[in-house]
């Protein structure tokens, strides 16, 4: 079967019922989609299939024969980050990073589809993506920033409005 993965045409040999996740990871050595649960429950393996976000662990190879698949590697490079990737850095939306591969892909699909910076809409779009580290606050901020098209500085991170700082009297530096 044929796949175009991150703009590269590939002929793949895996059997037709192989999950797209295993095709990408084990046959093509594209390791960004993660086997977080292999049952569709976490979103760490989400990739774009013909532009649409898909759980690669739920997708049999034979159902995507001829499709264009994009993983997070294909969205941007360290030298040329996509807007969503910049937003994830600037808003500190990745901690351990294991959910980021799928999260960035799903967020990109949301932004590409014209998604707004409305928090409820982002939650609706991404609620199937599990992150144990961040508590989601900064992921929502990152996706909203990308949706708005904010100019983003990746050499610093954002201060969020929901956090205020005080210094105990007598403990000033």
């Amino acid at each position: 079967m044929e796949l175009t993965v991150n703009s590269v045409s590939c002929t793949v040999q895996s059997p037709p019922l192989t999950s797209l996740l295993n095709v990408l990871r084990e046959e093509l050595d594209i390791t960004s989609p993660k086997a977080g649960c292999e049952s569709g429950g976490c979103g760490a393996c989400t990739v774009l299939v013909d532009g649409q976000p898909r759980r690669s662990c739920l997708t049999a190879l034979c159902t995507v024969d001829g499709a264009a698949v994009v993983t997070v590697e294909g969205l941007g490079t360290p030298e040329d980050l996509s807007r969503v990737q910049q937003a994830f850095i600037h808003h500190y939306a990745a901690q351990c990073g294991f959910c980021s591969d799928g999260m960035v892909v799903a967020a990109t699909a949301y932004v590409n589809a014209g998604g707004s910076d409305d928090t409820d809409a982002i939650r609706e779009a991404l609620a199937g993506h599990f992150c144990r580290c961040t508590g989601y606050v900064k992921i929502l901020e990152a996706v909203a920033a990308a949706a708005r098209g904010d100019e983003l500085d990746i050499d610093s991170t954002a201060s969020s409005a929901n956090n205020t700082y005080v210094t105990i009297a007598g403990a000033e530096s």
Binding site: S39, Y92, F130, T164, A171, S173
Partner: protein, 362 residues
């Protein structure tokens, strides 16, 4: 259907570092001939950001730009011993190890610069990758030049090592629990206020808002500490109302085996979260830091439980506070038993008989 809102509060404290084995961490640093800095630390980054924070400590201490730092925690051949990333010790304890190593390197940089500039090291300072003479900033040389001179002129390696060890605390009196030294590196403090909405027909609890205050010592990187506190809040929410490995505890049956049957919080469950971060520098932490990662999921469960009481007037004392437990408490709604001075909220109390007989039941 009636939805009831309530507010609750909890305050907590938590130790930084471990109470066993002296809790050692070690680090070493070397400087390349162009002044770029290699930091070797054994601290695993599990998402907590220790690569970042330890690199910041080294950059700050040496007076070089952050992007001059290469941080290597990749293996036990090159990185020295670190007890590990737990017990909120990566910033404080392991951070102290890199801090001490960086101070040694700084001294060596100044020593070489002193020879090159023919100025007493006491009269030199380092900032932004440049060693300069105090009061005479025009007289200076780059740390890159210092490193080159060390390598090619003086035949020296700019290096340093550091180790942090809490003198091992011993329990001196097993009868009383008295210890001879602090079994922690610092203590931090926090509080959380929760707002909830409770459905009194189904017991369903929605956490609407968490407001939190944390004594963080010093924010080594404010964004990272916020990330710990926000992530902890949602994990505490999970502990408080959603997650259980044993739904019928003590029975071991009917365990959730995956994402569809074990209820980890997702964005759908996210309440409004607001934080106050209080700087209260520690005595012994690098730049006043304390560790707060562990405690970040400790205050929410009680705050939520207390908010549920505020909302519907029942105490749920078995966690997580599932809809079943709320509804059972509503159905059994009862006042505590009051007899004279005694106020017994829960009847199954074995504390007075347990120690002597070691059998359960009062």
């Amino acid at each position: 259907m009636a939805l009831h809102r309530g507010k609750g509060l909890a305050t907590i404290e938590y130790p930084t570092g471990m109470n066993q084995n002296g809790d050692p961490s070690q680090a070493w640093i070397k400087v390349k001939p162009d002044g770029r800095v290699d930091v070797f630390s054994g601290t695993s980054d599990i998402g907590n950001g220790s690569k970042t924070v330890q690199s910041q400590i080294v950059a700050e201490t040496l007076g070089v730009p952050y992007d001059w730092i290469t941080y290597d925690n990749s293996n036990t051949d090159s990185s020295p011993m670190c007890t590990g990333t737990f017990a909120s010790r990566a910033t404080f304890v392991a951070g102290n190890a890199v801090l001490k190593a960086a101070r040694q390197v700084r001294e060596r940089i100044l020593a070489i610069a002193s020879r090159e500039l023919e100025i007493d090291p006491e009269d030199l300072e380092v900032a932004d990758g440049t060693v300069s003479v105090k009061g005479t900033p025009a007289k200076s040389m780059g740390v890159d030049e210092v490193a080159g001179a060390a390598t090619f002129v003086h035949g020296e390696l700019l290096t340093g090592d550091g180790a942090h060890l809490n003198p091992g605390a011993a329990i001196v009196d097993p009868e009383t629990g008295e210890v001879d030294k602090p079994p922690h590196a610092a203590i931090s403090y926090a509080a959380c206020a929760a707002e909830v909405e409770v459905d009194d027909e189904t017991g369903d609890v929605r956490v609407l808002k968490l407001t939190q205050a944390y004594d963080i010592g010093r924010a080594m990187n404010p964004t990272l500490v916020e990330g710990q506190i926000e992530g902890g809040a949602v994990m505490g929410l999970g502990f408080g109302v959603l997650e259980t490995c044993y739904p019928y505890y003590p029975s071991a049956e009917h365990r959730g085996d995956g994402m569809s049957t074990y209820h980890v919080p997702t964005m759908a469950e996210l309440p409004e979260i607001n934080n106050v971060l209080i700087e209260n520098p520690s005595e012994g932490g690098p730049y006043g830091a304390k560790g707060i990662g562990e405690m970040a999921n400790n205050a929410q469960p009680a705050a939520i439980a207390n908010a549920i009481y505020d909302a519907v007037g029942v105490w749920v004392t078995e966690f997580p506070i599932t809809p079943e437990r709320v509804l059972a408490a509503l159905d059994a709604r009862s006042e505590p038993r009051r007899e004279g001075r005694m106020v017994a909220f829960d009847e199954e109390l074995s504390i007075n008989s347990f120690s002597s007989t070691r059998t359960w039941g009062a």
